[in-house]
Amino acid sequence: MSETLERPAAKADLQVVGTRPIRPDGADKVTGRAAYGADFNMPGQLVGKVLRSPHAHARIVSIDASKAKALPGAKAVVTAADFPDLASEVLEGGEQASNLRDLSLNVMARGKALYHGHAVAAVAAISSEVADEALSRIKVTYEVLPHVTEVEAAMAPDAPLLHDHLFTEGLEARPDKPSNVARRHRNLRGDPEAAFADADVVVEGRYVTPPVHQGYIEPQACVAAWAEDGRCDVWSSSQGQFMVRTYCAKVLGVEISDIRVTPAEIGGGFGGKTTVYLEPLALALSRASGHPVKMVMTREEVFRATGPTSGSVMNVRFGAKKDGTITAAEVELKFQAGAFPGSPVGAACMTALACYDVPNFLITGYDVVNNTPKVAAYRAPGAPIAAFAVESAIDDLARALSMDPIALREKNAVRDGTKASYGPTYQNIGYVETLAAIRDSEHYKAPLGPNQGRGVAVGFWFNVGGESTAAVNIAEDGSAVVVTGNPDIGGSRASMAMMAAETLGIPVERVRPMVADTASIGYSMLTGGSRTTFATGMAVVQAAEKVIADLKARAAKLWDVPADQVEWRGGEAICLDPKADKKPLTLETLAAQSARTGGPIAAQVSINAQGAGPGFGVHLCDVEVDPETGQVSVVRYTAAQDVGRAIHPSYVEGQVQGGVAQGVGWALNEEYIFDAQGQMENPGFLDYRMPVASDLPMLDAILVEVPNPRHPYGAKGVGEVPIVPPLAAVANALRGATGVRIPALPLSPPKVLAALDGAKAG
C-alpha cells in the first residue's frame, strides 16, 4: 500500500530517524511520576498473596482453607477448584507458543505441585499482615514424591516422572512409555559422518550452563477488579496487555470482551513478562471477594516461581579442512524446560549454526521437563546457550588450525544467498560487514596486559514481525498523537514518535506517543522477539502515510486541483501545478480547517508485518584473571551488530550494552543453585549475583547499518542479538588468558581457581 515500503528511504533524506531526541516519556521516568505495576491502587483494594509448595514434587492430597476463611479480614481463598480444568490447547501470541493447559496449571497447581514455589492457593485480605496470617492457616496435605532437577537425570529411563501423559514427540515412532522428554528436535543436512571421517581437524566439547533468571528489577505486580456485571479490569506490568487479556480469559474461562487490560509502565521484562502468573489469581480473588485485589511478588517469589531460562548440557563437534573450511558439525542440546514442556531448545537448534555455512551437519535437541519453575522466554530464547557451546568449539577450532578467530568465521560465514541451517535463504544480512567492523576495530589490534586474554564470539537472532495496530490522530493544532498497543520497555515510544514525525514531516516534539489499553486500540502481539520498532513501527508509518493521503486530498479540494497535483514534502502540501500558483499548506493550516474539509484527521492501520531482517552480532571481550583468587574481570568490551538502521541510535546502543551486561552476568556469576530437596538456595540479589556498575567497563557498541528493505526506514530488530555472543566471548577470553578451557558456566572464582590449579598440576 505504500510506495516507500519496498525501499528504505535514503539516509541523507532523513530528518528525524537517526537523531537522538530526548524520549517522550523521559520526564516522567526521571521524576518518579511514571506508574509501574505496583504504583497503581484502587479504592477498597485487598492484598492478594500466594501459598507456594514447599516441595519440589508432591501430590496435593487435600487443601483445607476453612481456618483461613474464618479469619476476620480474610476475604477470599482460591485454589485450583476455582479455575476450569482446561484441555490441552496450543496458544500462539507469546514469544514462544505455549500450551493453555500448562499455563493454567502453572498459575495454580492442580493435583500435583511440580516445583518448589509452585502456587497451590491464594488469599485476599484487608492487609498484608492478615493475608500472611490467612496463608499460614491453610492446611495442605502433601504426599512428597521423588523429584529430579538436572536435565540428564530427568532424561534417564528410571527418572521420576512429572507427567504421566507425556510421550516424546519428534521420534520416528511414538514411544510406548511416557518420559520427561517432551520433544526431540532433529535437523540433518548432508552426510556429517562421512565429512567427519574426511576432516583434517576435529574439535569437540561438552558444555554445561545453569538456569539463569531474566532479572528484571521490577517484580510482577497487578491490580484486578471484577465488577458485579462480570466485566473485569486488570492493571498490570507485562510485555503485552493483549497477551494478558487472552491468557486471563482462557485461564478463567471468561469472554475476552469482558476483560480490559491497562498496561502499566514495565520495569524490565527481557521475555520474562511474556506470560501471566498473578493476573488470573487476582481476578479470581476479586470475583470471590467482591473487591479489587492487588498482588505484588516478592523478589524471592520472582526467583522461585517465575521463569528462568533453561539450564543445559550440550555436545558439539566440528570438522574442518586444513585451510579452515568447516565441513561437518554435530550439535546435541539437552535443555531443561522446568515443570512443563516448552524450553527454547527448538530456537536453540535453529540458531546454533545460523552464522555458518556448513554443508554437513546434524543438530539434535531435547526438551526435557524437570522439577524446577517453568522456563519463560529470556532475550533471544535458547540462542545464547547454544552459542556458548558452538562459539567455544569454534574458538578451539581456530586454535587447532592456528587461525585468526575472525578469519575462520569469515571463511565460513553465511552471506546473502546462503541457505541458512534452519531453512530460508538469507537476504540483506550484514554479517560479514559486522565481522569486518570488529576485525578493523582499534580494540582488535590493541595489546593485552599480563593475565589478560581476548575472546571473539558471534551470534544470531531471527527477529520477528507479526500483528500490530497503530493509530495516528491529528489534533487541531497540527500535532499528532500516535497510539499503539505495545508496552514501552526500553524507549519504543521514542522510536514510534520519530518514525511518525519523519513520515509526517513534523518535529518529533509535535508527536505524542501513547501506549493504550486493550479497549482503546486494535490488537497487537506483545513486545518481544525484537518486533516493536520493526512491526509496530511499520504500522505507525503506514498510518501516517494514510493521514498524508488524506491531507493531500484535502489540500487538493481546497485548491480545486486534481489530487495527483499535490505532493507532501517537509510537513506541507505542495501544489505541483505551477499555473495554480498556490502557497504550500502546512499540516497546522490543514488541521485548523479540518472541519471544512471532512472532519477530524486520523487513521488507524492494522498489519501482520513480514520481513523482519535477521540480526548478527560480533563481540570482542578482554578479561583479566586474578591468578590468586580466580576472579575474572571484563576489562574491555566491543560489540558490533547489524541493526538495519538505527532509528534512535542511543537506545539501540543501549540495547546492545544491556544485552552484553546480561550476557557477562550469565558467563561469570549468575546461576540457580538447588539443594538436595530441589529448593533454590539463592533466591535473592545478594546470592544470585547480577552485574553491578563496578563489575563492568564501558561497553562499546558499533552499529553496522545494512538497511532492511522491508521496513520503510530500514530497521531490523536489535534487542535480542546482543545477549547471544557474550557467554562465549567471555569464556574464549578466559581461555586466552589462562590456556584452560572451562566448559561450564558460570566462570566463578572457585571454578576458575580449580581449573588453574588442575592445569598446573596436570
Binding site: 518518579g32 514495565i266 520495569g267 524490565g268 527481557f270 516478592t298 523478589r299 544491556g658 556498575a693 561497553l699
Partner: protein, 162 residues
C-alpha cells in the same frame, strides 16, 4: 496493633503519618504518603531501587523503619526537580539515554545525587563503586556512568563563578 505517629520532613515539607511498628520507610512513602517514585525491587537492601536520602545519608528505604524517620529530613526522587526545572542529573540521564525501562532510575538518581553531594569530581571508578548498590538490568551502566560524570562536570561549572 497500635500505630506510631511519625512527624518528619519530606522534600522540605512537613509530613505526618501513622506507621505500624514493622512498617518500612519505603512502605510509608509509597502507601501512606503516596510517593511511589521509590521502588521495591528486592526488599532486602540489594538493589537500591528504593534509595532515598535521610539527613544527608543515602539509605535503602526498604531497610529503614518508618518510625525511624521521626524528626529527620527525607529526600526522595519527587523532590529532585526544583521549580519546574529538572536537576542536572535528571537532565543528563535523559540526554545520555541512561534509562531504558526506568525502574532503577529514581534510585540511581538519588544514589548519584548522594555521590555528587559528597564528591563533586568523581572518577569513573569512584562513580562505579559508589553506585554499585544500585542494580540496573537494562543499560549495562555505560550510559548511566557517562550521564553521572557529565552532570558532575556541569554542576562543577555552575558552582564556579564565571
Amino acid at each position: 496493633m497500635s500505630k506510631i505517629h511519625v512527624t518528619t520532613t519530606v522534600n522540605g515539607d512537613p509530613a505526618e503519618f501513622l506507621a505500624t511498628p514493622g512498617m518500612t520507610l519505603l512502605d510509608a512513602l509509597r502507601d501512606e504518603l503516596g510517593l511511589t517514585g521509590a521502588k521495591e525491587g528486592c526488599g532486602s537492601g540489594d538493589c537500591g531501587a528504593c534509595s532515598v536520602i535521610v539527613d544527608g545519608r543515602l539509605v535503602c528505604s526498604c531497610l529503614m523503619l518508618a518510625a525511624e524517620a521521626e524528626g529527620q529530613r527525607v529526600e526522595t526522587i519527587e523532590g529532585m526537580a526544583q521549580n519546574g526545572q529538572l536537576h542536572p542529573l535528571q537532565q543528563k540521564f535523559l540526554e545520555h539515554a541512561a534509562l531504558q525501562c526506568g525502574f532503577c532510575t529514581p534510585g540511581l538518581l538519588m544514589g548519584a545525587k548522594a555521590l555528587l553531594d559528597s564528591n563533586p569530581d568523581p572518577t569513573e571508578t569512584e562513580a562505579r563503586y559508589f553506585l554499585a548498590g544500585n542494580l540496573c538490568r537494562c543499560t549495562g551502566y555505560d550510559k548511566v556512568i557517562r550521564a553521572v560524570l557529565d552532570a558532575a562536570a556541569e554542576l562543577r561549572q555552575e558552582r564556579t563563578p564565571a
